[in-house]
């Protein structure tokens, strides 16, 4: 055991094992307690089937000497996930696809004599453009007659938030951020409109399920012959949940920036010129990782992806991120991850000791941040001083490609249309001064046919504190 070994704070609840890092590589320790299930996972062919179908993250055997404790029976090195995202950052279709992936895995596991012992949405990550299950220790040997232990968790993590987003309001996704173990079913049942009592799947798995939880809250489970369910009942439960999830949908409509690129003041020529400028800057940097903040539907994220970068495409607008994800899925793009995120209130560190879920900044740094058509939203709509914007962005990446949108621009004018202009410092000169305090401005190019300027900046390492 060496001092560079460090356990990962989000992996501690399951006694079967845990994740740890060693020399910047991630490993998973498997404890002796889990051995029979681990053997079954491999001997039954379940591991091979799931990894071949791209449903489970593959791993390599690692040296047992790396183990952190004496309880270890083996150590594995799972394939690395590019960027860890969380369910409260996913678009509707991402959560839905993650839910269906979990159920598909449960079904395949059942065919191999195993079952999922948990169904946390945090066990799914988007890897190479597709949802993949990352917790290799979630499988246990199926005990005939035993109900699905993870049923409640599945309903709380997937079905309830999807139903709320589909039938109430897409913004209720945020309940996943405040409820780290999923949306309580009694709350979901109260919030859902009464017409959902006529939906068989939601009636059963949300409304009646919530009633049952309330009714038997203080009851204790006693072993008895009749307290079992048949294999068919188990399969029926998974099938019923699959149908309930499949029937949920959300059509993006009526959002403010969803059709932003159709409303933009850019001419086709100007848009092409901007793409050319950004592509040129990206080529000069050659970034491995790019964070596109305010990505909208991901037009510029695709430029970075085409240049070979792993792109995290962030936007505040649910409709834009939904469109972006659908595009990525349709085009089988592997290196763009669309996520919902308000940069003015980015995902914080959450969970036990603030360590279970990482903040956005903790998941960085990226090589480059794209901040195109963003600065006026931050400065004029959110009253953020330019110096503070520069200071925060400088913590995210050493390179910055940023577009300055002057007050005279029609989009900036729209933001000022209904309020007093209290921004005398919002000028291109003050912008350059504020960012010049953190970065070296390497190049500035005016976008033809517009009032806007795109900058290439490199962080000044002596001024980043």
């Amino acid at each position: 055991m060496t001092s560079s070994l460090k356990s990962i704070p989000s992996s501690f609840r399951d006694p079967s094992g845990f994740l740890f890092t060693h020399d910047s590589r991630i490993y998973r320790q498997i404890n002796t307690l889990y051995r029979p299930h681990w053997d079954q996972l491999h001997q039954s062919g379940l591991y091979d089937t799931l990894t071949a179908r791209g449903l489970l993250i593959p791993h390599q055997q690692a040296d047992l000497d790396l183990a952190l404790t004496a309880q270890a029976c083996c150590v594995i090195e799972p394939e690395r996930i590019g960027f860890v995202s969380y369910p409260y950052e996913w678009a509707f279709s991402q959560l839905k696809d993650a839910a269906l992936t979990t159920l598909k895995i449960q079904k395949v596991a059942f065919e191999h004599g195993m079952t999922l012992k948990d169904a946390s949405a945090f066990n799914v990550q988007f890897h190479n453009g597709k949802p993949v299950f990352i917790d290799t220790l979630s499988f246990e040997i199926y005990k005939p007659g035993r109900p699905w232990v993870a049923y409640r968790q599945f309903c709380q993590h997937f079905l309830a938030p999807l139903a709320l987003m589909s039938h109430c309001d897409i913004r209720l996704r945020r309940l996943l951020r405040t409820n780290i173990d999923g949306v309580p079913l009694d709350l979901a049942s109260r919030l859902l409109p009464s017409r959902t009592w006529l939906n068989p799947g939601l009636l059963m798995h949300i409304h009646l399920h919530a009633k049952s939880q309330q009714r038997y809250a203080d009851a204790s489970l006693k072993p008895a012959k009749q307290q079992t369910i048949s294999r068919l009942g188990f399969l029926g439960l998974i099938d019923s949940l699959t149908t309930a999830v499949r029937k949920l949908s959300w059509r993006p409509a009526g959002t403010v920036w969803g059709d932003y690129y159709n409303q933009t003041n850019y001419s086709d020529q100007a848009m092409e010129a901007k793409k050319h400028i950004v592509s040129d800057f990206l080529k000069r940097i050659g970034p491995t990782t790019t964070w596109d903040i305010g990505a909208n539907t991901g037009v510029f994220s695709r430029l970075a992806a085409e240049a070979g970068s792993q792109v995290v495409s962030l936007d505040i607008d649910a409709a834009a991120v939904e469109q972006n994800y659908r595009w990525v899925k349709q085009n089988k793009t592997q290196n763009i991850l669309p996520l919902l995120l308000d940069i003015c209130n980015p995902s914080p560190a959450l969970g036990w000791a603030h360590e279970e879920r990482l903040s956005l900044r903790q998941r960085g740094p990226a090589d480059v941040v794209l901040a195109l058509a963003l600065i006026h939203h931050l400065a004029l709509s959110n009253n953020l001083p330019l110096g503070r914007i520069a200071r925060f962005l400088a913590t995210l990446s050493p390179w910055l490609i940023i577009e300055f949108v002057p007050k005279e621009d029609t989009q900036a004018q729209r933001l000022l249309a209904s309020r007093y202009d209290i921004f005398p410092n919002y000028t291109q000169q003050r912008f350059e001064e504020a960012f010049g305090a953190r970065y070296r401005i390497l190049e500035r190019v005016t976008v033809p046919d517009t009032l806007r300027t795109v900058y290439l900046m490199q962080r000044n390492e002596s001024k980043t504190s």
Partner: protein, 83 residues
């Protein structure tokens, strides 16, 4: 021959809805997740229903064909008697 197998399969599946194995309980040190008493009991209550629904779904084609062939046979008989 194939139809006989399907019939047998349907009977076995439906029997599974009613006949469930015992000894599902017992110690399981790895079940670290609290399934929730209400959620656990609720599964026991709905298992028969969702199981039956699943069986019908699996054999829907066969059930439909069986019903259609039964009624069409009856209709043929009636037609034969009339002629």
């Amino acid at each position: 021959m194939g139809k006989s197998y399907k019939k047998l399969g349907l009977v076995v599946l439906l029997a599974q809805v009613l006949c469930v194995p015992s000894q599902a309980w017992g110690s399981c040190p790895l079940a670290y997740l609290d399934p929730g008493t209400g959620s656990y009991i609720f599964q026991l209550l709905i298992a028969g229903l969702v199981g039956a629904g699943f069986a019908v779904k699996l054999f829907w084609g066969y059930i439909k064909a069986f019903v259609v062939s039964t009624f069409s046979r009856k209709k043929h008989k009636d037609d034969d008697q009339q002629s």
